[in-house]
Symmetry: C2
Subunit: 359 residues, 2 copies
């Protein structure tokens, strides 16, 4: 693979990521049209339901497309029965000579078929250019399409000795501004954040995006017993329809009524006798609701459940430079799980570490 191909595909990634948070559960896609080493058109999929990157690039072209090369980080689509017409016929019709892509589309309706149709039309196709970066870019989409489950990241802000608060039922603010900004950046790209009701009742967070530009995620509160404080800030959000409460089937009391009245969405799920909701069933339900990515923010019980059941893809530790000694551990129970280290970086006074579950 030539360096030039890698560079143009990298530019597609840069275009694609501009739509982070806005195209889900679709993938992020950027496209470039290049003729004689010159970029003559570009585009990216900007919004769920909107035009695809390839078509925007074709429409933006400043020259005739004969003998041009299309760079695109994902295999162009060829399937119908969706919101937009397929791209492959339009690529063929435009007279494009060569198509360079990063990833085959894992969607079985496309996977390899888009490439085949291009080849059948006499177009040269090069695949798997910067494939790993492409997959990383669209990790939410790849997980969602392949497993019908959201991509799950667990974010834990903790002390060096693994504690999240000095004392149970009391908030301890551990991380600094840069780490908090990072959290807001993540909220702006994940479809939803999820916390337990205890976290709402103790920390009273808003779980929205304030420290950076970006759209708010859906806010999902796991609350089997409906213990949520009715005066929580999260119940006063302007976009209250994006606050979802997950509780048990059969709970049908006054509080449920009051919550509905506030405009929150209630999802009722099967649970055991202790009102513990099955996490697997919850994830199936969230996938049905087109939640393709989930950012789990607390607290200790939620962390421990998702980790013990191995229901996560990434573990993100925001390590504050503090030793508490005593306090509430972020994770408890019999876990013993090995992960792959992705990276580590200083975020102001804190350190971010990312790990991924081993396959």
């Amino acid at each position: 693979m030539s360096q030039q191909q890698n560079d143009f595909i990298k530019k597609c990634f840069e275009l694609a990521v501009k739509a982070a948070g806005f195209v889900s559960p679709n993938p992020m896609v950027g496209a470039l049209l290049v003729k004689q080493d010159k970029i003559i058109g570009e585009g990216y999929h900007q919004k769920y339901g909107g035009a695809h990157a390839e078509i925007i690039a074709i429409n933006s072209a400043t020259e005739a497309l004969t003998d041009s090369t299309l760079y695109c980080n994902l295999e162009p689509c060829c399937h119908t029965h969706k919101q937009t017409p397929p791209c492959v016929p339009q690529i063929i019709k435009a007279g494009i000579k060569k198509v360079v892509i990063s990833n085959l589309d894992p969607n079985p309706a496309v996977s390899g078929k888009g490439v085949q149709q291009l080849l059948n039309a006499g177009i040269e196709v090069i695949t798997r250019v910067s494939e790993n970066e492409g997959q990383e870019l669209n990790k939410f989409y790849f997980k969602f399409i392949s497993n019908a489950k959201p991509y799950i990241s667990i974010k834990i802000a903790q002390s060096i000795d693994g504690k999240i608060t000095e004392e149970k039922n009391k908030q301890t603010w551990l991380t600094g501004e840069e780490a908090q900004k990072y959290v807001h950046q993540q909220r702006a790209i994940y479809d939803a954040v999820l916390v337990g009701a205890e976290t709402i009742n103790i920390d009273n967070p808003e779980l929205n995006v304030r420290l950076v530009d970006g759209r708010n995620p859906k806010r999902i509160i796991l609350d089997g017993n409906l213990s949520l404080n009715l005066n929580s800030k999260i119940l006063k959000a302007a976009d209250i329809e994006n606050t979802w409460i997950i509780t048990c089937n059969g709970i049908d009391n006054e509080k449920l009524f009051k919550l509905k009245e506030k405009g929150v969405r209630i999802l009722q799920m099967p649970a055991d006798q202790l009102n513990h909701i099955s996490l697997i069933k919850l994830l199936d339900e969230l996938a049905k609701q087109k939640i393709s990515s989930l950012f789990i923010e607390g607290g200790s019980n939620i962390f421990s459940q998702f980790i013990t059941e191995k229901l996560f893809d990434e573990l993100i530790i925001l390590q504050a430079p503090v030793v508490l000694g005593k306090g509430l551990s972020a994770i408890s129970g019999s876990v013993n799980i090995s992960l792959n280290t992705i990276d580590t970086v200083k975020l102001g006074k804190d350190i971010k570490m990312s790990f991924r579950k081993c396959d």
Copy 2:
């Protein structure tokens, strides 16, 4: 300060650090002689008791030293009553025109006086070039000279949830080869490693340098009750005189005799009724024994005591990509201490994080 000055001082640091582990409790010092932008001589203090960097550089000079500049990371010495004659008179005698240094020597017998003697002889002196890097290079020396205590680093290899073993009294091997190499590199530069007897009895470590080139540190075992297993590997070391056991005054039993017979050195210290040795008194004693740097490797009780009493300079976490959930916490007790983050870096599959105690 010119870039050229910084570059030459940096070269002094590179020379100086070649002697890491061999000059303690002296500082590491490198020296360059420069004439018309050309290096005409260089040297470094290679061994405790050996010639100073400045003198080696002067003796190595390939040209006459008139009009030359001496670069040296530490203020040249001017005091007598020590193993080597003072450097300042020899610098003056050599006809050197200018001296550029990084740090003033914190040793009160020198501090500023060396510079003053050079100035009095009509030599131009520039100080504080790359001062912070110089201080970092000689952090052991600066601490030892200023506080009459060793520089103390606590190294903890732990899981993401702050555990050092899956089960008390059982070893769990958490970190990989690169992290272990890092530990051996540190052992090769600290004067001594320190562990509790429990760590010896459970892990049976050798605490020497095997994975990298370097000299072995002294191995200090804190053992108030003399619970050390007599078959430990550490008691079979070829350099057994470098294994020191710290125990209580008044213990005078058969085991003490057997240990002495093996050739280890026994230091007896005051202790409380539970045979807990006063750490402050221990550090005073180690300083008297010219231990200027101490690398603390375990276990949980030792970590917790040193951290709770704030008797450390650096905390180094080797974070294995593992969640244990249950197990023995690295640190326990009522600590609540804030640190400064120094840096973070991937070491193979693990992550190293360094923190420093706030002033």
